[in-house]
Amino acid sequence: MAETLPPSQMQSPGAFGAYVRNVRDSAMSFWEGMSVTLSYMFRKPITSQYPDRMPVSVNHTIPARYRGFLEVDMDICTACQACERACPISVINIDILKGDGKTVPKLRMERFDIDIGKCMYCGLCVEPCPTGAIQHTREFEGAVMHFNNLTLRFVPDSLQPIPAYKPPKGAESFPRKPLGEITRALVKKWDEPPPAFPSKEEAAKADHGKPKAGGLDVAAMGRQLAAKALQVKEDKPKLQKVIEEAMAGTDCGDCGYPDCFGYSDAIAQGKDFSPDKCAPGGADSKAMLETILVSLKTGVVPAPAAPAPGAPSGGSESPAAPASAVPAEAVHKGPPLAQTLSKDELYKVVLDAMAGTDCGDCEYPDCDGYTKGIVYEGQTDLGRCAPGGEDTRTKLYEIMLGTKPPPK
C-alpha cells in the first residue's frame, strides 16, 4: 500500500543544495506568477455591470436559441396538447371544451397555464408543436415575491374559451406575434401580490354538476356520424370526411400519420382499424370511431343505450358516462374478417393489430414473419405477440375467428 509519509520529512539529501534550490525555485515561480497578475492590472476587465451599466441591453446579447420563459401564441394553437404530453414534469396544463363543430366550435381551450416556476426549460415541448405556437422566448427576468405568481395564464379569461386554430391545408409558416411580446405582458411585476385563491371548501361549493352549454354529446354524435358513414359507405373520399369529423382535427401527427387526413383516409380505405390512435381526441374520438367502425362492419347503427336513470329528460346523456358504443351481444355479429377480406387485405389488418416492434419474442424474426405465419401458413397460436399483450390478442381472435379469446 502506498504509505503516506508526511511530505516535509522527505527532504532530499544535501540540505544546503536543497536549501538554495528551494529558494531559487520559489523566487523564480513567484516572479512568473507575480508578472502574470500584474499584467492583468493593465488589461480591460471582462465583466459587464448588469443590470444598469450594460454597454448594450442584455436581451440583444442573448443568442436566438436561448431557452427562456415559454410563450404560446393562442391564435395559432391547434389545442392538440402535444406539448402537454411531451413535458416530462407536466408543467403545461390545458383544459379543452369539446364541441359538436356546428353550434359550438369543435375544440375550445378553457385554460392554458404554464408554471414557469416548475419548468426546467428543456425545450421538449417546443419540438412536437405542429404550428410552432409554443416557443421559448429570450425573457429570463422573472423575479416575483410570491410563488403563485409564477404561473403564466395564456387564456386570459376562462369564461371566454379560445377556439382552436384550424391551419389551412399545406401551410408552411404560421403568422405569429413577435416573440416575447405575450410573455413580457404576462410576467408579473416583482412585488405584485398573489391572486386571492379561494380555499378548497369554497371552490367545492362552487362546483356545479350541470354539463357545460354546447358541450359535445359523444354517444349521440357517434351515432349521427355512423349513420352518415353508412350512406356514403362506397364513396371513399366522403367516408374519409365523415371519419375525420370524429377526430380532433389538430394534425398533430401523434397517430403516426402526417395529419388527420392521413389517419381518416387509412380507416376509410380499410388499411387501419384501430380507433384509439387519435391522442388529442382521447376517449371521445375513440368512442365515436368505434361506433363508426362497428356500424361500417355490421351495416347497422347501434341503438342508443338506455338513458341513464335520473338524467334530465332532455335526452342528453351526461358525457361522463359515454354509452358503450359496442353492446357486446345486442348487435348481430357478421362473419369474421378472415372470410370476408382477401389474403393481402387480411395481411394488412393482422399486421396492424400487432405492436410492430419486430422484437422477435414470437420466435418469428419480426412481426412481418408472424403475420405471414398467421395469414398464409395457418399459424393458430394468436397469443405470441408479447409487446402487443392482451389487446393485440383480442384483436387477432376477433379478426381471425370473430370470437372472444379464451382467458389466458
Binding site: W31, G33, Y40, M41, F42, R43, K44, I46
Partner: protein
C-alpha cells in the same frame, strides 16, 4: 511631540520643568495625539479595504466596487456603517467576558505601534530611543487577542484558527526581530527617526542596497511581517477553504469591524516599518537631514510636506505589493509554515547579522568597498525592475490582449 509641548508652555511664560500643570498639558497632548493616530489608523484601514477590493478585482479581470461614491471610494464607509448597525452576536456557550474583550486587546496592540512610527521629518508621536524595541514588544499583544477570540468562540474551527495564528505570529517574531537588527547595527541607534537619518535620499544610500545581507534581511523581514499580519501566503488562520474564517468566524457587527480594522491597518504598519528601516523613510533625495533641520518658515513647511509625501508614496507602494501577493500566491500548509520559519528564515537572519557585523568592520578598513557594493546592488535592483516590467508587457501581448489601463473602471 514632547519638545513641541515644552515650547508651547515656555511661550506661555512658564518653565515646563517646574510648572505644576505640565503633566496635565502632556496628558492633553497625548490624548490629542492618540485621537489623531487612531482615526488615521481606522481611516487608512478602511481605505485599504476598498483599495484591496479594487486591486484584487482588476487583477482578476473584474471591476470591483465602483458604485458608492466616485469610483466606489466611499464603499468602506458603507461597510463600516453596515458593520456598526449589524447585530452583535455572542454565541451562548461562548466564554462571554473573553469573547467581548478579545477585539480590544488586538486594537490596543495595533494602535500602540503608531506611537513610534514616523510619518515625516518632524511628524512622529514620540521619537523614543528604544523605538524599534517598543514596536516589536507591542505587536505581541495582538497574539493574546487572537488566542482569546479563538478560544472563547467555543467552536472547533475558531480554535484551529487561533492556535495556528498564535504559532505563526510567535515563531515569526524571531526572524523579524533579527532582520530588523541589521538596520540597527548599520544606524547604531534603535530610534526610528535615527535610523532614517542614518540613511540618505538616494537609493544607493538606503540600507536596502547597503550590503547583500541587508538586501536579504529586507526580504526576510517582509516575509515575517506577512506572517505576523496573517496575510497570504500565510493566511492559515483565516483559510477560507479549510476553516471558513478562523478565529473571527463567530464575530459579527462592531466586534468584527475591530478584527477587520487590525488586519488592514497592519498593512500600513508593516510597510511603514519596512520603508523606515530599509528604504530611507522620508529622506528627500538631495536634501541632507542637517540642512533639512536648518530650514525655517515657508520652505520648511514645503520640505515637511514633501517628506510626508515621499514617505507615504513608498509605504503605499509596499501596501500595493502586499495586496498583489495576496492575489497571486496559494497558501502554505501549517507544517511547511513552521518548517520555513525555523529552517530557512531564522538561520538566514542570524547569518545576516553576523555578516553585517563583519561587513561594517571591513568597510571601516576599506571605505571604497562600501560604495562599490552599494552601486552594484542598486544597479542590480534597477536591472531586475526593468526586466520585470518587460516581462509584464510580454505577458499582455502573449495572450493577444492590449495594454489598457483606462477603460472599464
Amino acid at each position: 511631540m514632547q519638545g513641541f509641548l515644552d515650547n508651547l508652555i515656555r511661550s506661555k511664560g512658564f518653565d515646563p520643568a517646574t510648572w505644576q500643570y505640565t503633566q496635565f498639558v502632556y496628558l492633553a497632548g497625548m490624548a490629542a495625539a492618540a485621537f489623531i493616530v487612531i482615526n488615521f489608523a481606522a481611516i487608512t484601514a478602511g481605505i485599504f479595504s476598498w483599495a484591496e477590493r479594487r486591486v484584487a478585482a482588476r487583477m482578476q479581470s473584474r471591476v470591483g466596487p465602483n458604485r458608492v461614491g466616485p469610483g466606489g471610494f466611499l464603499q468602506w464607509v458603507a461597510d463600516a456603517v453596515k458593520l456598526l448597525l449589524k447585530e452583535d452576536l455572542v454565541p451562548d456557550e461562548a466564554d462571554k467576558l473573553l469573547f467581548r474583550i478579545a477585539p480590544y486587546f488586538m486594537m490596543v496592540g495595533f494602535a500602540c505601534v503608531f506611537v513610534a512610527l514616523p510619518f515625516s521629518h518632524r511628524l512622529v508621536v514620540a521619537d523614543m530611543n528604544i523605538g524599534l524595541f517598543y514596536i516589536l514588544a507591542v505587536t505581541a499583544l495582538i497574539v493574546v487577542g487572537i488566542i482569546m477570540s479563538g478560544w472563547s468562540s467555543n467552536s472547533k474551527w475558531s480554535l484551529f484558527g487561533a492556535i495556528r495564528s498564535a504559532a505563526q505570529i510567535i515563531s515569526y517574531e524571531i526572524p523579524a526581530g533579527m532582520a530588523l537588527m541589521i538596520p540597527v547595527l548599520l544606524a547604531g541607534t534603535m530610534s526610528t527617526q535615527g535610523i532614517i537619518r542614518a540613511q540618505g535620499g538616494w537609493p544607493w544610500q538606503w540600507f536596502l542596497f547597503n550590503n547583500p545581507a541587508a538586501f536579504a534581511a529586507f526580504f526576510i523581514y517582509f516575509i515575517s511581517a506577512l506572517a505576523e499580519g496573517n496575510r497570504t501566503p500565510f493566511d492559515l488562520p483565516e483559510a477560507e477553504s479549510e476553516l471558513v474564517s478562523g478565529y473571527n468566524t463567530e464575530y459579527s457587527g462592531m466586534r468584527f469591524s475591530y478584527f477587520f480594522l487590525v488586519e488592514w491597518g497592519n498593512m500600513w504598519v508593516m510597510s511603514a516599518l519596512a520603508v523606515t528601516m530599509f528604504l530611507g523613510g522620508w529622506q528627500i533625495p538631495g536634501l541632507s537631514p542637517e540642512r533639512f533641520d536648518a530650514l525655517r518658515g515657508g520652505l520648511g513647511v514645503v520640505a515637511e510636506v514633501a517628506s510626508l509625501a515621499v514617505f507615504a508614496m513608498k509605504t503605499l507602494f509596499f501596501v500595493f505589493v502586499v495586496m498583489w501577493l495576496r492575489w497571486t500566491l496559494p497558501r502554505i500548509r501549517v507544517d511547511q509554515m513552521m518548517n520555513m520559519c525555523w529552517k530557512y528564515l531564522v538561520p538566514a537572519s542570524f547569518a545576516g547579522v553576523l555578516f553585517v557585523a563583519a561587513w561594517m568592520l571591513l568597510v571601516n578598513a576599506q571605505p571604497w568597498l562600501g560604495y562599490a557594493m552599494r552601486f552594484t546592488l542598486t544597479a542590480l535592483g534597477a536591472v531586475s525592475v526593468t526586466l520585470f516590467a518587460l516581462r509584464v508587457l510580454r505577458n499582455i501581448h502573449d495572450t493577444g490582449d492590449k495594454f489598457d489601463f483606462t477603460s472599464n473602471w
